[in-house]
């Protein structure tokens, strides 16, 4: 099963997102869901997108997939995939990419599968959506994929309904459904949040296996740093619809540069650090209708000072070797604070 290498740039870049901005007009005002998001994704790369709910991480991916209603949403920016800007493509062309070249796995597999159709039928449907094959062939492929993702007795289980599957199995089935056409990119939106802890690990491992086997790019959206710490190659931290910090995972974890990232690491339980009380970030995420002026994080930031409330910090690397962050703090302050929270990931030791 070879993976298509179409549309890959010479350095293996699959997806380039530049300045992605998404706004929803409502009767109460305009919701600024995503503002000026920029990142890229290459083959074999897992990009971990981290942030609280309402940070815009899911909306960005929906925008990339073209799952937002264009008539009711203002989307600007560029999403370059296979040499084309997905944001300018007409809907029917986008449909041919969706589910075929870019596939998405969602958070709650129980709600994400149609309760009235058999699991196998739903996967077979994904097959026939982009390929003109017989129903039998599509069903065979569905069974094959279910086997591949580790569902025992795939042939008979394919005839079951979603409510007869356990949570973990359902997520495996969703992943199987996403892999039907060997997509280049797999977007996983909180794939483990609704699952038991033991099952979570299995699913993450499955995603990693799939990535290696098919040599694809994975965007892994989560609010759980632990998940990201294990598997991501790069990390993007989002807050209030903006990117706060973006860089290689090792760098972000070993030398976090943004107060929000510090707060996230502080609130993450870890065996590495000395056992101290968990420190949550005070306050709550801002309303996206009227985001704070200046730095969106400043109302909750312990380190805020004079420029923060009035001027928005751009996403730039503070020094040439560092990764970009959006914070006015001086580099020395950042280094000092980072040192307190540096996390050495398992597997990165030495």
């Amino acid at each position: 099963m070879s993976s298509a290498r179409q549309g890959t740039a010479h350095d293996g870049t699959l997806l380039e997102v530049r300045g992605l901005t998404v706004r929803f007009p409502t009767s109460d005002g305009v919701v600024q869901a995503v503002s000026d998001v920029t990142f890229s994704l290459s083959r074999g790369e897992t990009l971990g997108v981290v942030g609280e709910s309402g940070s815009g991480k899911s909306v960005s991916n929906l925008a990339i997939m073209g799952l937002l209603n264009r008539q009711r949403t203002a989307i600007s920016g560029q999403v370059e995939f296979m040499g084309r800007d997905l944001l300018t493509l007409p809907q029917d062309e986008l449909r041919h990419i969706r589910g075929k070249d870019i596939a998405m796995v969602f958070q709650d597999p129980f709600a994400c599968l149609h309760p009235m159709y058999r699991v196998g039928a739903q996967i077979a449907e994904a097959v026939t959506a982009h390929q003109d094959v017989s129903n039998d062939a599509a069903w065979a492929r569905a069974v094959e994929l279910l086997e591949h993702v580790g569902i025992p007795n795939a042939k008979s289980r394919a005839r079951d309904y979603p409510h007869q599957f356990s949570g973990g199995m359902r997520q495996r089935a969703m992943i199987a459904m996403a892999l039907v056409h060997n997509p280049s990119i797999l977007i996983c939106d909180e794939p483990t949040t609704a699952l038991d802890v033991t099952v979570q690990a299995q699913i993450i491992e499955l995603i990693e296996e799939v990535k290696r086997e098919f040599d694809i790019g994975v965007i892994l959206v989560t609010h759980d740093l632990g998940v990201v710490a294990e598997t991501a190659n790069s990390v993007m931290v989002m807050y209030a619809g903006r990117v706060m910090e973006y860089g290689p995972a090792r760098q972000v974890f070993e030398q976090p540069q943004h107060p929000y990232a510090w707060g996230l690491l502080d609130s993450m339980p870890s065996v590495e650090r000395r056992l101290s009380a968990l420190v949550p970030i005070e306050g709550s995420p801002p309303s996206l209708l009227a985001p704070p002026s200046g730095c969106p994080f400043h109302p909750r930031c312990r380190y805020r000072f004079e420029p923060c409330p009035t001027e928005r910090p751009p996403l730039v690397a503070p020094v040439p070797d560092a990764h970009p962050d959006a914070c006015w703090l001086k580099w020395d302050d950042k280094v000092r604070e980072a040192a307190k929270r540096s996390v050495t990931r398992l597997g990165d030791a030495a």
Binding site: F24, P25, T26, S27, G29, S58, A74, Q107
Partner: protein, 650 residues
């Protein structure tokens, strides 16, 4: 947990003002739609701006709105189908079985089209229509033996229709009378014939045939009476007395009502499908032309055995009469107007009457006729405050009859009533008799108050009733549209003399007021029409003490009640001093000719001036509306309906 914010509103970014304007446009559009519908409804409702100019004067309670009762455009001819829309359901009281059938509309069919009884009528409007002729009999005989014997000779050439197909004989008449007397055969007005010798024996089950009826030969029948009955000939014109062939009649012995589906005809028309009906009884099936009282059609076709030369008064133009039930009364009149129906058995609403009255092209198609009927408020002589004659008289003074007439739709639906029996039944006698005449029939407060002051319920002589008996007096009304219009008028009038009326409106009020044990003080509903053209059909059943029965009582005022009768029927109240007119009625019943008429007229006056059981307010006309294809139509005064035997269709 859904992480996707749901995209809510239609306009893309930055155009909030545009959105708000859209909202206003939205509201405006909705208002426009509503307004359009309202305009449509209003426009359709008042298609004709009814200026309600009545074509006749409304002063005087005479029948100034009634014309000749005839429509004729000179082109009557044989042929065609005469289609009649019948409102709601047939409503037959005995499933069209003539022995017990009491519905006036059914009599219209029998008398005009199907059953020739010994005595008949000319099927004309007005007084001429109430004159008796010999129909099955050669003529209307005078009684012999001091009024105790009536001998009839049957006409030649009258034959039964299928499946009997033979000449009608006197034995057939006797058979019908025996059937009428037999309580198991469902007769509903046998009380008219109890004076025939031997009747009671059959009625009580001790004899099978009436000894007082003899048939010396096939063409002669003799009736002997126990006492003179002045209107006996009239009684022999009713459909139950028409002959019945025993070949078919015996099949229905003891099964009242069933014969209605196989009525054998000796007249010009018969039930459709009678030619397919076979004897003997075991093979007998109902005729297809009539499906029973719960059905919705009754079709009459020509009787092949009928001989027109034996009949001087029936014209028999159409080939077929099709009566069909229609649940939508408005639609009946719409169809009549559109020409898909010729005639209707229904009551035109005031709006229809107005339309036809004001449109000159439609006016000739609306034909009001004097109906031999009185509408009245009845007062129970045993219940306070109506046990006081002064209160009853005061009610007659105070009621605004012109307003009530308006509630019925003006002078076309009816003339204002001033006494018990409509003048036409006295051959226009008592036409000017109005014992409680008030200016413009609007009631006279002064006279009412003067009368009230004489009452024991007004001890302070205020002119208004002050006793507690006058507060919350129970009145039973019906729920028709016209009742809802009349009730407030009645209440307002009564209040002027201190009576507060508590009105209970009941669908089908008759069943309630016909039970004396309920002791109802007053009813707004009653209406009484003649059975045949003799005032006795009013007085005997309305004011004789013998008519007071436990169920189905029609002497609502309980005139002539005694404590003994009250105990029998369960009535309670003030039973002392209730006036009786029994001797007057009995005397008039024995009279003949003009003496009889004068006797009834005097009884009418006595009742209005001394007994005062009613407030009569309307002599309703029968208003008929005919379709554009009708070339001749006239009213039948006997049946109070269309003279089907004279109608003609294009």
């Amino acid at each position: 947990m859904r992480t996707t914010p749901s995209p809510p509103h239609p306009v893309s970014g930055g155009k909030e003002n545009h959105y708000r304007m859209n909202r206003h446009i939205r509201y405006a559009a909705m208002l426009l739609v509503v307004a359009a519908f309202a305009a449509l409804a209003a426009g359709c409702g008042s298609k004709k701006s009814s200026t309600s100019t009545t074509t006749t004067t409304s002063s005087g309670g005479t029948n100034s709105a009634v014309g000749s009762g005839t429509y004729d455009n000179g082109s009557s001819k044989k042929g065609g189908i005469y289609r009649i829309g019948w409102e709601q359901s047939f409503g037959f009281t005995n499933n069209f079985d003539p022995t017990g059938e009491y519905l006036g509309n059914a009599w219209g069919l029998y008398s005009n089209l199907m059953l020739r009884s010994l005595v008949g009528y000319k099927h004309l409007p007005g007084a001429a229509g109430n004159e008796t002729i010999g129909d099955l009999a050669t003529d209307v005989p005078k009684p012999t033996d001091g009024g105790l014997t009536y001998t009839y000779t049957l006409r030649d050439g009258i034959k039964w229709g299928p499946p009997v197909n033979r000449a009608v004989t006197s034995k057939d008449v006797a058979y019908a009378m025996n059937r009428l007397a037999n309580p198991k055969d469902g007769g509903q007005y046998s009380f008219y014939y109890t004076d025939i010798v031997g009747w009671d024996a059959v009625a009580s089950g001790t004899a099978k045939t009436i000894s007082g009826i003899t048939t010396p030969d096939d063409k002669t029948i003799v009736f002997k009476l126990t006492k003179p009955v002045g209107d006996f000939n009239l009684r022999m014109s009713m459909p139950a007395t028409a002959p019945i062939p025993s070949e078919v009649g015996d099949c229905f012995e003891g099964k009242p009502g069933d014969y209605g589906r196989d009525v054998v005809s000796n007249g010009p028309y018969m039930l459709q499908g009678m030619d397919a009906v076979k004897l003997p009884c075991s093979a007998l099936k109902p005729a297809s032309g009539y499906a029973g009282a719960n059905g919705n059609h009754l079709i009459l076709v020509r009787n092949p055995n009928y001989d027109q030369s034996t009949d001087a008064y029936r014209k028999n133009y159409p080939d077929q009469f099709a009566f069909r039930v229609n649940s939508n009364a408005d639609d009946i009149f719409a169809q009549v107007k559109a020409g898909t129906l010729e005639d209707e058995v229904s009551s035109p609403q005031p709006k229809t009457i107005r339309d036809y009255a004001t449109d000159p092209s439609l006016n000739p198609k609306m034909i009001p006729n004097v109906g031999d009927r009185t509408n009245y408020f009845t007062m129970n002589l045993t219940q306070p405050p109506f046990d006081d004659v002064h209160v009853r008289k005061a009610m007659n003074w105070i009621v605004d009859k012109s307003a009530l007439q308006k509630a019925w739709g003006g002078p076309i639906p009816g003339a204002i009533a001033n006494h018990i029996v409509p003048p036409v039944l006295y051959q226009n006698g008592l036409a000017e008799y109005d014992p409680y005449a008030t200016p413009n029939h609007a009631g006279d407060l002064a006279k009412a108050q003067a009368e009230m002051k004489l009452s024991k319920y007004d001890p302070g002589k205020t002119g208004k009733c002050t006793a507690s008996a006058c507060k919350g007096v129970l009145v039973i009304a019906d729920t028709r549209a016209v009742d809802t219009r009349m009730v407030p008028l009645l209440q307002a009038d009564a209040a002027k003399i201190g009576l507060t009326l508590t009105v209970r409106s009941i669908n089908g009020a008759y069943t309630t007021i016909q039970t004396p044990a309920k002791n109802i003080p007053m009813s707004e509903r009653p209406s009484w029409g003649k059975d045949f053209a003799d005032p006795g059909t009013f007085f005997s059943l309305l004011f004789h003490s013998k008519a007071i029965i436990k169920d189905g009582n029609t002497n609502y005022s309980l005139v002539g009640i005694t404590p003994a009768i009250a105990a029998k029927v369960g009535a309670k109240g003030n039973l002392t001093g209730v006036p009786s007119v029994d001797p007057d009625i009995d005397k008039c019943q024995g009279e003949l000719g003009d003496a009889r008429t004068t006797c009834w007229e005097n009884l009418d006056k006595k009742l209005m001036e001394q007994v005062v059981p009613w407030v009569p307010y309307l002599w309703p006309n029968n208003v008929f509306i005919i379709g554009p294809t009708v070339t001749h139509w006239n009213y039948d005064q006997f049946t109070d309906g269309p003279a089907y035997s004279s109608v003609s269709v294009k």
